[in-house]
Amino acid sequence: MVDPGFLHFDTLELHAGQRPDVEFGARAVPIYQTTSYVFGDVERAAGLFNLERQGHIYSRISNPTVAVLEERIAALEGGVGAVATASGQASLVLAITTLMGQGAHIVSSASIYGGSRNLFTHTLPRLAGITTTFVDPRDPEAFAAAITDDTRLVFGETLGNPGLEVMDVPEIATVAHDRGIPLMIDNTFATPYLFRPFDRGADLVMHSATKFLGGHGVAIGGVLVDGGTFDWAASGRFPTMTEPYESYHGLRFVEEFGTQAFLMRARVEGLRDLGATMAPQTAFYLLQGVETLTVRMQRHVDNTRAVVAFLVDAPEVAWVSYPELADHPDHDLAKRLLPKGAGAILSFGIRGGRDAGRRFIERLRIFSHLANVGDARSLVIHPASTTHATMSAAELEAVGIGEDLIRLSIGLEDPRDLVADLRQALRASQRG
């Protein structure tokens, strides 16, 4: 059988969405630092506004530099297209506002980024009466049981936070699709190098590009990708996709744009009206990261494995949680869904509890103590003494965060230096 001859993943990291600039032949993606674009003739201008002609109008809605990033991430995820946003948080908001309105309902994994949880728990109910039921990410039946007639989205993260639960995307996708609901995956921790949710049944993917996609810790951004798989018309629950939209002369997105209905609506309504747009400079920074995603992610994973191997044997460490370890509850699932690696984030328990945790963090020299993940530099956080410092031990246990829990995001340094840094800080942590 002949080979289709598609460009492969590593090539797309460098080339997707871009051809050398026609005017000057610039090989790198130029930064189009402009708010707006000259129309040419009046008929063409009208055609642009009516979504029939191609090009850019105003950089809140689209920009040539940002468009390269959008296409590139869509290519790497295997989707039909993407919309970049001002942050990962904005991608989640954009997906929700595009899909649903007043009184809708979301079923979400309970093990998600705290910012996503805040949005679901407090802001969406206040603004739009949109409520969320949180369920155990390891329990597909709980997802099924939580879906109601008002449910418009099932949501989870490839790798949960901080428990590193591996989402059984094929199984949960089936649960969602059986009820005519799309599944959206936050693929931030895995990146398309380690996992492509669309290949396993997800319909929408979001990224905090702030993390591994950018990889350098220099820019906040998000990307919302559509797999083009979900049949909005057949579901019958998505009037934003199927019913006339007065703001565009009664445009019905599915009728006109088929597999691209969601993306078109997200851009021409969501970016236009809500305005959480990515800046071209940001897209440029993020593109520098995406170009080396494969080599970086492989190194992140290799370093993580070296650190995990060290921690497992360290006497100061009570337990280590990483999906590749045999005692992790999702070990088999990780092997199946994440064969290239289970990411670069892990957690462990330090003997000596909250105080030892504090001493450990303060003694680290290479690991940076801060609230982020997915930087080229290694990062550490001790939730019990920082983000969750006001909680009692009992309250921490209730949300699955022990007093002893330390989360590491492993960077690209020489793994020998990372291990040496951890070793000396662990030793110091036990000298109360």
């Binding site: 289709p4 940002v66 468009a67 296409e71 295997g78 297209g81 009728e255 088929g258 597999t259």
Partner: protein, 271 residues
């Protein structure tokens, strides 16, 4: 808009505007695809004043099946569609398999056709045996081969003029939506149609052959016998594009259609 042809529901896109009595333009998609390949042309042609009918062929998109087994069957269906729509004579714009359907109608029913625009057309459309075999087995590889070969090599890296749209993924997803067997039905119909140049000799209406410079499925040279056979034909090559030229270069295709159709129909609103 929904119509019924031979008791079967037909889904028709009108480019986002109600018909206003303009020149009827029927857009015919290719094998295994649907009306949305014309998403930008449909809207632009409707804005221009034409009455646009972007049809889902039987068994494709949201139109009831089954698909006719051969090009003549599709052509007979199209005549039925033109009747059902209450159209006297229409401009037929066809892509790939759709171009053969349009060509066959123009050859056999010249009184129903105002003009022809044939995109990604060739006098013969033999289909690669591996592709036919994969399609026959409903093997996903068939979608991959069509998606790959349908785009110029440059398009494999994207850079779509519509911000954020990834062409290769979009074409693949569109083909994956086809019902089992439909792609094979269509490819086999193209393969069997044989030499279209003989039939094309009967075509009397103005005809534009709109070709992709780097089309691998229907190479520009393969359209030459048609250009010679059709008395009032013109050839236009869209630079840099492959077989999916209306997707790869939507604006250029819109401009080419309007520039050709307006003069031969006396302008968009004049029918």
């Amino acid at each position: 808009m929904d119509l019924t042809v031979a008791d079967k529901a037909v889904n028709v896109g009108t480019g986002g505007r109600d018909h206003t009595g303009g020149v009827p333009v029927v857009l015919l998609h290719g094998a295994g695809m649907d009306r949305t390949v014309w998403q930008f042309q449909a809207r632009a042609l409707a804005s221009h004043g034409y009455d646009v009918y972007a049809v889902d062929l039987p068994g494709h998109g949201a139109s009831a099946g089954p698909p006719p087994a051969d090009i003549e069957g599709y052509a007979d269906w199209l005549v039925g569609f033109i009747d059902a729509a209450g159209i006297d004579r229409a401009v037929l714009v066809g892509h790939s398999m759709g171009s053969l359907i349009a060509l066959d109608v123009a050859a056999r029913h010249p009184d129903r056709v105002l003009a022809l625009v044939l995109l990604g057309v060739a006098a013969e459309m033999p289909v690669h045996p591996d592709l036919l075999a994969a399609a026959s087995a409903d093997d996903h590889r068939a979608f991959e081969l069509v998606a790959s070969w349908s785009h110029a090599k440059a398009a494999h890296a994207g850079h779509h003029p519509t911000p954020g749209l990834w062409m290769m993924g979009s074409s693949l997803r569109l083909l994956e939506r086809s019902a089992p067997g439909v792609l094979h039905n269509d490819l086999a119909a193209c393969d069997r149609f044989g030499d279209a140049a003989e039939r094309a000799a009967a075509i009397t209406v103005p005809t534009l052959l709109l070709l992709g410079e780097h089309d691998l499925m229907t190479r520009p040279a393969a359209a030459r016998p048609l250009a010679e056979a059709i008395a009032r034909s013109r050839v236009q090559v869209v630079p840099g594009t492959g077989h999916m030229l209306m997707v790869e270069a939507p604006d250029a295709v819109i401009d080419a259609i309007v520039a050709f159709v307006d003069p031969v129909t006396g302008g968009s609103g004049a029918a």
